[in-house]
Each structure stands twice: as C-alpha cells, then as structure tokens.
C-alpha cells in the first residue's frame, strides 16, 4: 500500500495511505500516512459504525492538504462496537465425530451439515447481508467433492482453467467457509472473527475437511504448493490443530 502511494504521488496524484501495521509505514515513508490501531482487515474501524468510519476518513483526508511530508499520524482510538450485545450461538449443533477416512459417511454427514446451514444463509441474504461465497462459481456440494478429491489425491487436475489446483481449491474452500460465516452472522449476538473461526474449524465437518486439505497439501512435493498451503487454508490461531503439521 505504501509503495503504491509513492508511485502515484510521483505521477502527480496526491495520496494519503492508511496503515494497519505502523512499522511498514515507518520503513516505507510514503508522503502521507494515517496509522490506525484497528483489526487486520478493518482499515476504517468497524462495521455499521458510520460516525467512527467518518472520523477516520476525516482524519485521513485532512492529511491530504499537507505538503510537509513524509507525514505520519496515528488515529487515537479504537471502535467500541460490541457494548452489551447478546451472547452469540452457532446456527447448528456441534458436528458429530466422523473421521474423513469413513468416506461415504463423512460426505453424507457434511452435505447434511451444509443443508442444515442453508436456512441461516438465506436469512442472512434476505436481511441484506453480503454474499462472499461467489469466488469459485461452484455450489457447496460441488466444492465438497473437489476438496475431498484433492485431500485424497493432490495430483488431480485443476477444474479452473488458468488457475493451479491449489488456488482453485483455495477459492472453493473460501466459498465454503464464507457460506458458514454468512450463516453464523445471521444469528443474534456479537461474535468476533476468531470466534467464527473457532466454531468453523473445531465444531463443523467443513472445518475438519479444511484441516485435512491443508495437511495433504503440506505433504506436496512442490515447495510452492507447501508454502501456499501453510497459510491459505487455516488461520494462524488454528494452525496448531492441523494434523501432522
């Protein structure tokens, strides 16, 4: 982001960059930076807090008129978004303990789990919620078939022309995960991204499939695939749960 700011300013276009990791901005020293103490993925603070977002934007745009760069300022506060919200509960019961090795039983149970979250997904969309589960262009059952096939045989061909198999699997996996997150967010109460991850990875069969896929790709003979698998399927705070990592 800071590199882009340098390049665009050199083209004669005034810029102000937001920074979520202050050290990167300190090293790169673009013309104008507002460092913000927010969660990764939230450069304007928090969802559904328009006044707070506006305060961040006012601060950032205020720097745009400065010409004494490099300017590095820090936004002074974090959003207080949860307050006294109700306790969040997942939309489905915790999955029963079926091993992926029991292939037909696992697939049946996973497809039943996906069917079980559908009402919550539909409720999310009906309420105006965003759909992020549209990267791969595949349905959830198709995604399960692809992920399972890859978890069992990493040498299968990519179903997406122009995209390597590990990336096609990543898009499919993210679609599946996003469908669960959409279902989760349809529930009342406040939940964090870590809370959603904890539910998805530890209490659902889809999460179990994600761990299995990650573990298989980590054994790939292709160093590039191993490197990709090490961070693309399981978040840092769940990585210790990947089998044989």
């Amino acid at each position: 982001m800071c590199g882009l700011a340098h390049y665009l300013e050199r083209e004669g276009l005034p810029t102000v960059a937001i920074a979520l990791i202050p050290r990167h901005a300190e090293l790169m020293r673009p013309p104008r930076v507002l460092s913000v103490p927010f969660e990764l993925g939230r450069p304007f603070g928090a969802p559904e807090m328009p006044k707070f977002q506006r305060a961040v934007m006012d601060h950032a745009l205020g720097l745009l008129e400065r010409t004494d760069g490099p300017v590095l300022e820090t936004f002074p506060r974090r959003p207080n978004e949860h307050g006294a919200s109700a306790v969040w509960s997942p939309p489905i019961e915790k999955a029963s303990d079926i091993a992926i090795g029991e292939e037909s039983a696992f697939v049946s149970a996973l497809k039943a789990e996906i069917a079980a979250i559908q009402p919550a997904c539909e409720s999310w969309v009906a309420g105006g919620g965003r759909r992020l589960d549209r990267i791969s262009g595949r349905t959830s059952p198709e995604i399960v078939d692809l992920m399972l096939a890859l978890a069992q045989d990493p040498s299968i061909e990519s179903p997406m022309e122009g995209f390597p198999i590990e990336l096609a699997a990543k898009f499919a996996a993210d679609d599946l995960k996003h469908a669960y997150y959409q279902a989760g967010l349809s529930q009342p109460g406040a939940v964090t991204d870590v809370g959603l991850d904890d539910w998805f990875y530890n209490d659902t069969l889809a999460g179990k499939l994600m761990f299995a896929l990650c573990a298989t790709l980590l054994k790939s003979e292709d160093e590039k695939v191993r490197g990709f698998a090490s961070h693309a399927f399981v978040p840092s705070h769940q990585r210790e749960n990947v089998p044989e990592i």
Binding site: L4, P14, I21, L40, G69, F233
Partner: protein, 152 residues
C-alpha cells in the same frame, strides 16, 4: 484480529516482511479538500463477483466503478488472518464509498471519482509499478486529485 494478537511465527513474518528501499517522494500540492475529486484504492482484493478472482503475486488490478451495485462486490484475498466480518456486514469497513458520498453531499470534499481501483495485498510493490502509469492516466482523465489508499 489485532496484529499484536497474531500468534508467532506469523506475526513476526508479517512484521518483518521485506520492504523495498524507497526514495522519499515529495508531497504534491492540491486544491482545498472541498474542491477535490477523491478516489479509493484498496488492497483487499475486491472485485465484482463476475470477474476472475485475483491470483497472488500476479500484476493485476480491478476497477470498481462508483456506479456499480456494491452488493456485487466480493473479495478473493487469500489471507486467513484478516477479518471477514467487517466486509460481510458493511463494505464501508474496507471500502468507504458511502462515507465519501456523504462528504460529497455535505461539501466536505468536491466529488467522488467515477472509478476506484482494487489490488491484492501481500504482493511486492514492484509488481504494481508497471500498472501505475495506466491507472494514473485513467485517474487524470477522471480529474482525480486526491486518493485514499486502504490496506487490509
């Protein structure tokens, strides 16, 4: 998740991600904010769901017109460590197009640009350098004279 709460070794890897050694760039002067035309640039990997997803490491970008239906915006950013709740609940958490529209209506900025631009973060900045001339020309044609760049 806050950066400081990220477990090791991911936290140190992200903190110590190699940064190019950039020569200082002087600030370009401009009109008062109330007369400027503002564009957004995001590295959230945002795009229309009908577009091809981003490929990590590839030099590419997507255009997000102000006129598009923002309900069609998705992300193909591969990171598993950035929050997804914000973008699911409110696009303005990462791409504050509505905040800019409010500012335009109030006269706090001049106007909102016709087009905005999306990149995939976690990509070496050098990969983008060759694209900048093209994007800068498009922005100048759109009379943009202020850019807010937002990471994830």
């Amino acid at each position: 998740m806050y950066f400081e709460d990220m477990p090791e070794p991911g936290r140190s890897r992200l903190l110590n991600h190699p940064m190019p050694d950039m020569v200082e760039t002087p600030c370009v002067e401009g009109l008062p904010l109330g007369k400027r035309r503002i564009a957004l640039i995001t590295t959230a990997g945002l795009h229309d769901y009908r577009d091809a997803p981003f490929v990590p490491g590839r030099s590419e970008y997507r255009t997000i017109p102000s006129s598009m239906d923002m309900a069609d915006v998705i992300t193909s950013h591969p990171s598993t460590n950035i929050d997804r709740i914000g973008i699911l609940r409110d696009l303005d958490t990462v791409f504050p197009i509505n905040r800019l529209r409010e500012m335009e209506a109030e006269g706090a900025i001049g106007t909102v640009a016709s087009n905005h631009y999306s990149f995939l973060g976690s990509t070496p900045p050098d990969n983008f350098e060759g694209l900048i001339g093209e994007i800068a020309a498009a922005m100048r044609a759109d009379r943009v004279d202020g850019i807010v760049l937002a990471p994830v």
